[in-house]
Structures are given as structure tokens and as C-alpha cells.
Amino acid sequence: MKKILVVDDMSELRELVAKTLARDDCRVLEAESGEQALRLARDEKPDLIMMDIMMPGTIDGLEATRILRNDPLTKGCKIIMLTAKGQAADITKGIDAGADDYFVKPFSPLELMRKVDEILG
């Protein structure tokens, strides 16, 4: 059973990603802030994290990614970032923070599904 953690401050978008990735062999967890995401990631050690970049609070998606990458407990999990900022500089920032891949909003659920299949094998 694979575990996927979906991090987004908007419940509607969490639902969209969760539904997109829902499969019989997968469990989808949800977090609505960076802080919550860090807690869940340490406890559950998901295989994949879908990380929204812009989130209110003290830890945004970039910061959360950096922390996860530096934590021996979580540095192995794959991170795909979801960002509404599509400029090259923003993407570079995400990759520098340690993301494995990125999707720019609005994205196609079908494409996201294919990408996740590829990553999870």
C-alpha cells in the first residue's frame, strides 16, 4: 500500500488531487498547512507528497520541502510541487528547495495521474 500526502490550504483543491490519485493500492492523506504536512510526513512517511507552494502561515510549501529534505526521516520521499506561479524563476526555486518535479496550476488530472504512476512505479 502506497501513501500519498496532499498538502494544500484549499480543501477543494485537496479533494481534486485526492480524487485524481485515488487508487485501490493507495492511501491518500491530506494536510492544510505546512506545519500539518511536516507532522504527517514524519508520522506516516508517505511515498509521495503533492506540495502546494503558496500557503498562509509561517511555513509555506518551499520551506516545508526544504525541511523535509533535511530530515533523515523524510528525505527519501518523493515531492511534486504544485504551483500557481509558472515562471522559470519560481520553478527553479522549487527544484532548489528539493522538489523532484513540478506541476503548474491549472494542471490536467490525467497528466498528473500518469506522472504519479511513473514515479511510484
Partner: protein, 630 residues
């Protein structure tokens, strides 16, 4: 000299014996100019004109570094020197100068050239006359052949002699004129000028020059320039005056036209909001228009002999020199063709900050079209750059803001179309998401259109009706309580209805904008409270949060379109239009909106809306619904 507005003027002519130039006539006061300096200057002038007989002028035309230096040391800030020529030979020169800058302008230099030419003609005629032996008392004068007017009169003005030209000029017989008064026909001002000046004539300085207007036989006024010499008895009392006059009407007319045209351009230049500079070829300011005070904070005099590049920031200096290089290259490629370059440069304000200006530079040219200075027109574009920056920030945030609802619309519709495990309840929920997000996009677009209408001065179209805000606010508070579990939301409202006359959609959006802002900038667990108090004629609404707050500088600008407290803040989305739209709605309804904010403590937005008065009469369909109207 008065015409040329000079402080000082002199004429020097070559001496018949030695050939060296001597001062023959000098008018005006020039404290800094003792005789020996003047003699030295005249030597320089003679040498200069021997080398090159063209006029020399500090601003336009030919330049002479030596003379420039000599004149400047003597205190002349603007000056011009033109040669006097008799039969093509340079026999001396006329010089006018002024202690203040730009008085002797290029057009006044031209006037001086006209006078010098006429003087040259007169000298040629006098010489011819002398060679003929002076058979007639009449002195040839103006080029049109009309002779100079000659007369003699007693101190009380009684004429004792007039020549033929004088009789012809006034269209009267000699018998009528002799015995009459020299002052007749002069208007009061001229008469006063003439009689007043008499007292100033003394044996050491027996001559003066007057320009007066006299009526001609045809009735129009002519300008006559009288050169008057007083004749004294042994006790120094004036016996009589001998005057020679010439009709200078045409010359005065030309000079007046010149002056008027110069005045017109000067007004144009001095009232322009753009700063107009002229520079010499070493980039020193030679003229600065008064607009400089409002743009750069300097008074005009403070920039005297300042070098332009010194007033620019490092990178702008390079750009300015580059632009100048382009001008030079263009001039080299096709000499004499006018060419200009426009560059955005940052100039230092007197208080040290940078002011962005759009500077256009082009060459000023002398009589032969050779560049002899630079014209630079600077427009303050600080505000424009600021607006451009805000607009570009806005495009980024608006694009982002539209992306969020689009993500839902595209995402959920694709799930509905292609994913086969969507249950019926999910499917209707997804459709609701799609509809709601499409509405959100329509709202954003509506905001944008409203703002562009307001920016272009059109105003927002409203369809006002009586709205009870009590229900609207309660529903909204409930909605936000449910959708945002992270925040606490409290609404303290009066018991009765909150009735205002407003456009329902717009007033609803106003409250939504304010709630959105409060939520957006508040931490989890923060309290958002809305209150409404009623006053006799208005309601006072207040929405307070415990969010990140703002410093006073930011709070001052939040109502500006596209302004966002921190455009780089990746954690907070928004178009920067919400508060602008809010202000527009409140003000359109006759209310006021303001904000109190403290960095780190939170923000409170307050606004008033006029209470709907019982006498308010509704139009159209509202009429029937409101029993209080009739």
C-alpha cells in the same frame, strides 16, 4: 541699449591716426569695469575681429574662449559683440553686456547686428558727406533716402531752427514750426521723459539720446530717435539744444516683433512642466527653466555652471553619455540634420533621492547649423514608472488569481469527463465547484472592469435599491465560519434591519472583499470581528482582524489600485484590487472608508454608509415594494 535690455554697451572705432580701436561711446553702468580693463578688452576685441570678422556671442554663433574669459572676469554673464563695417571694412565694434545670465539672448544678438549694420550705413554716409565738404547742413540718414531731422530749440522748447527734412517729416511749413514748441505732439510720458532728462545734461556730459513717439501728418505715430546736445553759456547754463533725429519706426517694429516672439517662447519654456535645459558643449547648464524647482528641488540659480553628468546617478551618467555619443555619430553621418535621442535617466533631487526623468536631447545650432550647445528636455516620470511597476505586479498577481479558480474548473471537469469512479453525489458536488469558480472568475473580471472604468473617469454603473444588510452580513459570516475552520469569526449587529440604498451585488462584494482580506492576512486561530453601529444618519461598519498588519506607509497606499502590501510575498494571493473596489463602492454610495493598522497587531477597516431615509423615494419596481414611498 534699453531695447536690448543690456546693463552696459559701448562702441569702439578705429582711430584715423593710429588705427587702433578706441572707445568712442559708452552707456550704462558697470561697476566691475574700470577704464583700464575696458581698454584691455577693446584690444582683445580688435585682435579677435581681425582674426575673424563674424559676430561673437556668449550663447550662439561664434565663440571666443579668450573674450569669454575677459568678459566673465569683468562680470558679464551674457554679452554679444558685433563688428561695425564701413564699405565692407571692419572699423570697430559694438558690444552689449549684462550682469545677469541670458539677458543678451541669441535674438537680441540679431537685433544688435541690425543696429550695427545700420550704424555702418550711417558711418559710410557721414564719411561721404565729409568728403563732399559738408555743403548742406542736412545729414544723410536712413537707407530710404529720407534725411535726418535737425532742429535747435530753447530750454523752454521753442524751436529756433528746423531743416527741410524736419518740415517734410511733420508736413508743416518752416514758418509754422519755428516759434512753436519742440514738445508739441508728444504724449505726457514722453514729454516728461524729455524735460526730466534735461536736468541731467551738464557741460561734462552734454549729450543724450531719446526715443519718442510723434504723430506724423497722416496721423499714425512714428518713432523718432533724437540725439540731443545741450549748448552752455560760460556759467554752465543751457542756452539751447541741437537735436538730430531719425525715424526708427521700422527698426522698433522689427525689434518689438523679435522681442514679442522671444517673450512668447520664453513663456512657453518657463511655464512648461517639463524641465528645459540648455547646455554648452561641456555639458554645463547655460539655461534651466523654473520647472526644475518642482522636479529636482533646486532653484534655478543653484544650478549655475553645474555639469549635467554630476547630477546623474552612475548608471544614468553612462546612458546620458551614450545618448550624446549617438547624437555625435548622427551629426557626423549627416551634418546639420536634426536628430534627437530620448533616454530614461535618474537625476538627483536636491534632497538626495533619485528622480526618474525621460530626457530628450538634441543639438542647438549656430547660424551655420553647427552644433554649439545641447537642448535637454526632462520629463518627470517617477509616477509613471511607479504605476508601470504596479501594473506589472498586477498582471502577475491577476494571472495567479485567475489560475486558482481555473485549476478547479479544468480539474473537476476532466475528472467528470474521464474518470469512471466518480459517484453521483461527487459528480453534483464537482459541478457545483465548477459553477462557483466560474462565478469567482466573473467577479475578478468584474472588479477589473470596474477599476478600468473608474481609472478612465467613467464611473461604475449602479442600480441602487433598498438593501437590508443584516441578513447579507449574517449569511456571509456563517459562510466564512464554515469554509475557514482556522479562524474565529464574530459579528456584532444591531437588532433591527440595516437598510441602505445600494446596488445589492456591489455591496455584497464589498463585504466579501473585506472578509477575504481579513482572512488572507490572519494567522490560524485569529479573531475576525465585524460590527455595525447605527447613528442618526449613517451606519458605521468595522472589520477588525488580528493579522500581520501594516506600517503607516503601507496603510496610506492600500486604497491605490494594484497596490499589494508585499507583492513578493509568496504566501498570500490577491489582485490588489479589493480595497480599491471597496473604496469606489463606498464613495459612490456617499460614504467614507478608512483604515487603522499596526504592524504585527492587526488591521481595522472602517466605513460609513448613509442610512436610507424614510423620504428616499425609490424608482421603478422598488416603488411598489416600499410602503413609505408615495
Amino acid at each position: 541699449m534699453e531695447i536690448l535690455r543690456a546693463d552696459c554697451g559701448w562702441v569702439c572705432l578705429a582711430s584715423d591716426e593710429t588705427g587702433s580701436w578706441e572707445l568712442t561711446c559708452r552707456r550704462g553702468l558697470w561697476r566691475k569695469y574700470p577704464e583700464e580693463v575696458l581698454r584691455g578688452t577693446i584690444k582683445h576685441l580688435q585682435r579677435e575681429f581681425a582674426r575673424n570678422p563674424d559676430p561673437v556671442h556668449v550663447l550662439s554663433g561664434r565663440k571666443s574662449p579668450i573674450l569669454n574669459d575677459v568678459m566673465r572676469r569683468a562680470g558679464a554673464a551674457s554679452w554679444g559683440a558685433v563688428p561695425l563695417k564701413r564699405d565692407g571694412l571692419t572699423i570697430g565694434c559694438m558690444v552689449v553686456s549684462s550682469g545677469s545670465k541670458n539677458t543678451i539672448s541669441p535674438s537680441r544678438k540679431q537685433a544688435l547686428e541690425v543696429i550695427a549694420w545700420q550704424t555702418g550705413c550711417a558711418l559710410a554716409r557721414v564719411r561721404a558727406e565729409e568728403q563732399l565738404g559738408g555743403s548742406d547742413r542736412e545729414v544723410p540718414g536712413e537707407p530710404d533716402g529720407q534725411g535726418e531731422l535737425v532742429c535747435r530749440y530753447l530750454p523752454d522748447g521753442t524751436l529756433i531752427f528746423v531743416n527741410d527734412a524736419y518740415c517734410r517729416f511733420f508736413g508743416r511749413m518752416r514758418e509754422d514750426l519755428v516759434g512753436s514748441s519742440f514738445f508739441r505732439g508728444l504724449d505726457e510720458r514722453d514729454r516728461e521723459l524729455v524735460t526730466h532728462r534735461i536736468d541731467q545734461l551738464v557741460p561734462e556730459n552734454p549729450e543724450d539720446v531719446l526715443e519718442v513717439q510723434v504723430p506724423s501728418p497722416s496721423g499714425d505715430l512714428r518713432w523718432v530717435r533724437w540725439t540731443r546736445r545741450a549748448i552752455f553759456d560760460g556759467d554752465g547754463r543751457v542756452i539751447e539744444f541741437r537735436s538730430t533725429g531719425s525715424d526708427i519706426t521700422e527698426r522698433v517694429t522689427i525689434l518689438r516683433a523679435l522681442e514679442e516672439s522671444e517673450r512668447r517662447y520664453r513663456t512657453l519654456v518657463e511655464t512648461a512642466r517639463d524641465v528645459i535645459f540648455t547646455l554648452d558643449m561641456d555639458f554645463r547648464f547655460t539655461y534651466v527653466s523654473p520647472a526644475v524647482t518642482s522636479v529636482l528641488g533646486y532653484r534655478v540659480q543653484e544650478l549655475d555652471s553645474t555639469n549635467v553628468p554630476d547630477t546623474l546617478t552612475e548608471s544614468s551618467r553612462k546612458r546620458f553619455l551614450q545618448a550624446y555619443g549617438d547624437l555625435r555619430a548622427a551629426e557626423h553621418a549627416s551634418p546639420g540634420r536634426s536628430f534627437s535621442r530620448t533616454e530614461q535617466i535618474e537625476q538627483y533631487h536636491k534632497d538626495g533621492r533619485g528622480v526618474w526623468t525621460e530626457a530628450t536631447i538634441t543639438f542647438l545650432r549656430d547660424g551655420e547649423d553647427k552644433p554649439n550647445g545641447i537642448l535637454m528636455i526632462s520629463r518627470d516620470i517617477t509616477h509613471r514608472r511607479h504605476v508601470e511597476q504596479m501594473k506589472s505586479d498586477f498582471v502577475t498577481t491577476a494571472a495567479h488569481e485567475l489560475r486558482t479558480p481555473l485549476t478547479s474548473i479544468l480539474g473537476f471537469s476532466e475528472l467528470l469527463l474521464f474518470k469512471n469512479d466518480v459517484t453521483p453525489p461527487e459528480s453534483s458536488r464537482y459541478l457545483e465547484y465548477i459553477r462557483k469558480n466560474a462565478e469567482r472568475m466573473a467577479d475578478i473580471i468584474g472588479d477589473l472592469l470596474d477599476i478600468s472604468r473608474i481609472e478612465s473617469g467613467e464611473g461604475v454603473p449602479t442600480t441602487p435599491q433598498v438593501v437590508d444588510l443584516l441578513e447579507t452580513i449574517e449569511q456571509m459570516a456563517e459562510f466564512y465560519r464554515q469554509s475557514s475552520s482556522l479562524h474565529r469569526i464574530e459579528a456584532t449587529l444591531p437588532a433591527g434591519p440595516i437598510e441602505v440604498r445600494a446596488d445589492n451585488d456591489k455591496i455584497t462584494k464589498l463585504f466579501r472583499n473585506l472578509f477575504d482580506n481579513a482572512l488572507r492576512y490572519s494567522p490560524a486561530g485569529g479573531l475576525i470581528s465585524l460590527t455595525c453601529e447605527s447613528f442618526p444618519e449613517h451606519y458605521l461598519f468595522s472589520i477588525q482582524d488580528e493579522g500581520i498588519g501594516m506600517d503607516p506607509g503601507q496603510a496610506k497606499r492600500v486604497f491605490d489600485p494594484f497596490y499589494r502590501v508585499d507583492a513578493s510575498d509568496t504566501a498570500v494571493s490577491g489582485t490588489g484590487l479589493g480595497l480599491t473596489a471597496a473604496r469606489n463602492v463606498v464613495e459612490a454610495l456617499g460614504g467614507r472608508i478608512w483604515m487603522n493598522s499596526e504592524k504585527g497587531r492587526g488591521t481595522m477597516v472602517e466605513f460609513t454608509l448613509p442610512m436610507r431615509q424614510p423620504t428616499d423615494c425609490e424608482e421603478g419596481s422598488d416603488h411598489e415594494e416600499d410602503p413609505r414611498c408615495g
